[in-house]
């Protein structure tokens, strides 16, 4: 196959008709790929005034121009109307999906419509089938993966199987899409967006090949980047303890949320630290295809299932954020208990972060008497794993009116039952950084309401002065840098390697001179378009609220300065309006 630097090749699958089209999307020098391509596709095919569950809304999976060319260019963006906020949103995942899409010959898959029966999409470089999988109704993520791997068997190892569980089928607002067992389009409810389409899974076989550009420039660049990533030691931390290395330092800083953010430090951290996981439970590390780092940490969960010596074992991936959300936030201080919760979350196909934080709210609401076991069915108590394990199942099944509300988010439940002040929601359930004012604002207002929009948590940690100008400048600049990476669909761990100048060189060597020459212009265009889409689909920057709990946090810097937080919030809101030119 040949790659055309001027066009993105998109497979548009219409589940209403069962037919597909290979589209050529022009002006690649402007949309680049990844986040930019997803935004352009939504701009053309999305319907602003229809809700997220309207079958006409597109569900998009896009890679970047450098996917397959260089190491750590291994991510996919899922673009969709969020069932959580109803707004245009993104979630990013690794695994094998990025290379599978690349070698299937596409820059993106876009799915519109709704299948009549529960279906799986099976795509390769020379195939595109919609399979009836009604027998998978209600099946968990692992069982579904096993069945889906019956498709494209001859490409084992060179394919990706993404799927939803019960949560996605039922439309839980924070259902995720599982990617190749251990990775996820985790946040903002992509799993429900897929469920709305009656689409249980997608199998992509990367069975095609492309010619490389003539000359030696590409090979030299690839070797140079590989060496930088593997020989400089800069990635060691991600492979060694992985992201859970952050638990002890953040706890020491008084920045690790515990018990629904009622405190930011607890001596129980030793039980769930990266060191404890590595020493007691780490089974092995794995990698996304095309990345030599191997940051995926897989723990061994050994469970007794009957009396005497009857055991089963499971492989459960863990990271910093899942340990925060289903460990410290729930007051759990035993690493195996955290794995047990994460395993259940995985099976059900829930976003582990929102699910954990939502249950933390429910535990505090129980403590404070807003709800009782009449609502929660089981006792939800900080530090006790078993109740939360049942709670996860009830969220996915929508067991009663309370859990149906909780499956729409903790703030949705708090509005009905009380306790809005302590619902830890910043656009969606918070990420694990109680670092201070800038992070709270960045997350509440940020495009994905994620800790990944900007490094607000790092700004809080690196700056003792309260300078709103400097904070805003940092957030805007950092977002722009991340947009380049997110259009290439590089891993954010590699942002130190892939600065704008390096990206231009890498693009040129791979045959994308047109994108390299226009990178700054394209970055501005995409930043504006993303914010415009978010505003057009309902985001009201003036209506954003930061719940009271975040003003009560005490970190190593002392109490939160609400005046400073308000100033940063107002300034950031103005900057977003300026970027989006909302209303124009």
């Amino acid at each position: 196959m040949k790659m055309d630097p001027n066009f993105s090749r998109v497979l548009h699958v219409d589940l209403n008709t069962g037919k597909s089209k290979a589209l050529q999307i022009e002006d690649r020098h402007m949309h680049i790929g990844g986040s930019g391509l997803a935004a352009v596709l939504y701009d053309r095919y999305g319907i602003d005034d229809a809700p997220a569950d309207d079958p006409r809304q597109p569900l998009i999976f896009a890679i970047g121009p450098l996917t397959g060319f260089y190491p750590l260019m291994s991510k996919v963006v899922c673009g969709f109307r969020s069932p959580y906020t109803d707004e245009w949103s993104e979630s990013h995942a690794g695994g094998r999906l990025a290379l599978s899409i690349r070698f299937a010959g596409y820059d993106a898959l876009m799915i519109t419509g709704k299948a009549e029966k529960l279906s799986a999409l099976v795509v390769g470089s020379r195939s595109c089938e919609i399979e009836n999988v009604t027998y998978l109704r209600g099946k968990d993520v692992f069982a579904t993966g096993k069945f889906l791997r019956r498709f494209g068997k001859k490409n084992a190892g060179h394919r990706s199987a993404i799927r939803i569980g019960q949560a996605g089928e039922r439309g839980v607002a924070y259902a995720c899409i599982n990617v190749d067992s251990f990775r996820h389009f985790g946040r903002m409810g992509s799993g429900a967006a897929m469920g709305f389409k009656n689409l249980k899974g997608i199998v992509v076989s990367g069975d095609g090949s492309f010619d490389l550009p003539e000359g030696k420039a590409y090979a030299e660049m690839m070797k140079d980047i590989y060496k930088d990533i593997t020989e400089t030691g800069k990635m060691k931390k991600y492979h060694d303890l992985g992201t859970p290395q952050n638990l002890i330092p953040l706890n020491e800083l008084q920045a690790l949320p515990w018990n629904n953010l009622q405190k930011t430090q607890d001596e129980g951290v030793e039980g769930i630290s990266g060191e404890t996981f590595a020493e007691q439970l780490l089974l092995r590390q794995a990698a996304c295809a095309g990345c030599p780092v191997g940051c995926i940490h897989i723990g061994l969960l050994r469970q007794q299932f009957a009396s005497e010596h009857e055991f089963l074992y499971k492989q459960v991936s863990y990271d910093y954020e899942p340990i925060f959300a289903q460990g410290s936030m729930l007051g759990i201080t035993n690493a195996a208990d955290v794995l047990a919760l994460l395993d259940e979350t995985e099976k059900l196909g829930l976003d582990c972060m929102s699910a954990g934080v939502a249950l933390a709210w429910a535990a505090e609401a129980t403590e404070k008497g807003y709800i009782s076991q009449e609502e929660t069915i089981v006792e939800l108590k900080f530090g006790e794993m078993k109740g939360f394990l049942e709670g996860l199942k009830f969220i996915a099944s929508g067991e009663n009116a309370f859990y149906q509300a909780l499956s729409r988010g903790s703030m949705a439940a708090a509005k009905l039952y009380g306790g809005e002040d302590f619902a830890c929601v910043l656009g969606q359930e918070m990420a694990g950084y109680a670092t201070g004012e800038v992070f709270f604002v960045a997350s509440a207002y940020g495009f994905r309401h994620s800790h990944l929009d900007t490094g607000g948590y790092a700004f809080d940690q690196n700056n003792t002065e309260k300078n709103a100008d400097k904070a805003i400048e940092f957030m805007l600049e950092d977002e722009r840098g991340r947009i380049y990476i997110n259009c290439m669909m590089g891993c954010l761990f590699a942002r130190g390697t892939y600065g704008p100048e390096k990206l231009k060189e890498a693009l040129t060597a791979a045959g994308f001179q047109n994108i390299a020459d226009n990178l700054e212009e394209a970055g501005k265009y995409i930043q504006k378009l993303r914010w415009q889409l978010k505003c057009r689909t309902g985001f009201d920057v003036d209506a954003v609220k930061i719940p009271k709990r975040f003003t009560e946090v005490v970190t190593w810097k002392g109490e939160i300065d609400t005046g400073y937080m308000d100033e940063v919030a107002q300034r950031y809101a103005s900057a977003i309006k300026e970027m989006a030119k909302c209303g124009e």
């Binding site: 196959m1 190892g157 067992s181 690839m222 095309g290």
Partner: protein
């Protein structure tokens, strides 16, 4: 003579860096398949990884069935590949006892390991080695 061996696959993390490097540097392709070493998983990522790679047969069944000497026996095992002599019959891939030959449908050409070892430095976990063939095997 040396040959490539996937000696420590239990250490493999499934990054595919070896096969991507082979495709890019040896075969000048951007691909998972047109590579001499290909990594597969036997039923999802929970089961670990295996390498599909030429095991350096001597005599090599693929060379024996090749009607035009596009694949010729290499001293010490394995074959020397000349794509310009290939008439695209596909018999080599059928003859390989370990499925190490990828027959690419677009170009109609076989892709397999030539035991050059260019993939070795790209393995971050020391799973593959270019090893001297023991003399007792060469005799």
């Amino acid at each position: 003579m040396k040959r490539l061996e996937a000696v420590r696959m239990e250490q493999c993390i499934g990054c595919h860096s070896c096969s991507l490097a082979c495709a890019r540097l040896v075969h000048k392709k951007l691909s998972w398949n047109t590579a001499g070493i290909r990594i597969s998983s036997a039923g999802g990522l929970t089961t670990g990884f295996e390498a599909q790679v030429c095991v350096a047969c001597d005599p090599a069944p693929c060379a024996e069935v090749c009607p035009t000497d596009a694949l010729k026996q290499r001293k010490g095992g394995g074959v020397i590949v000349k794509h310009d002599k290939c008439i695209k019959c596909g018999k080599c891939a059928e003859a390989c006892p370990v499925d190490a030959i990828y027959y690419e449908p677009e170009s109609d050409l076989p892709y397999l390991c030539i035991h050059c070892g260019r993939c070795v430095p790209f393995c971050p976990h020391n799973c593959i080695e270019l090893r001297e063939i023991p003399t007792y095997e060469e005799e």
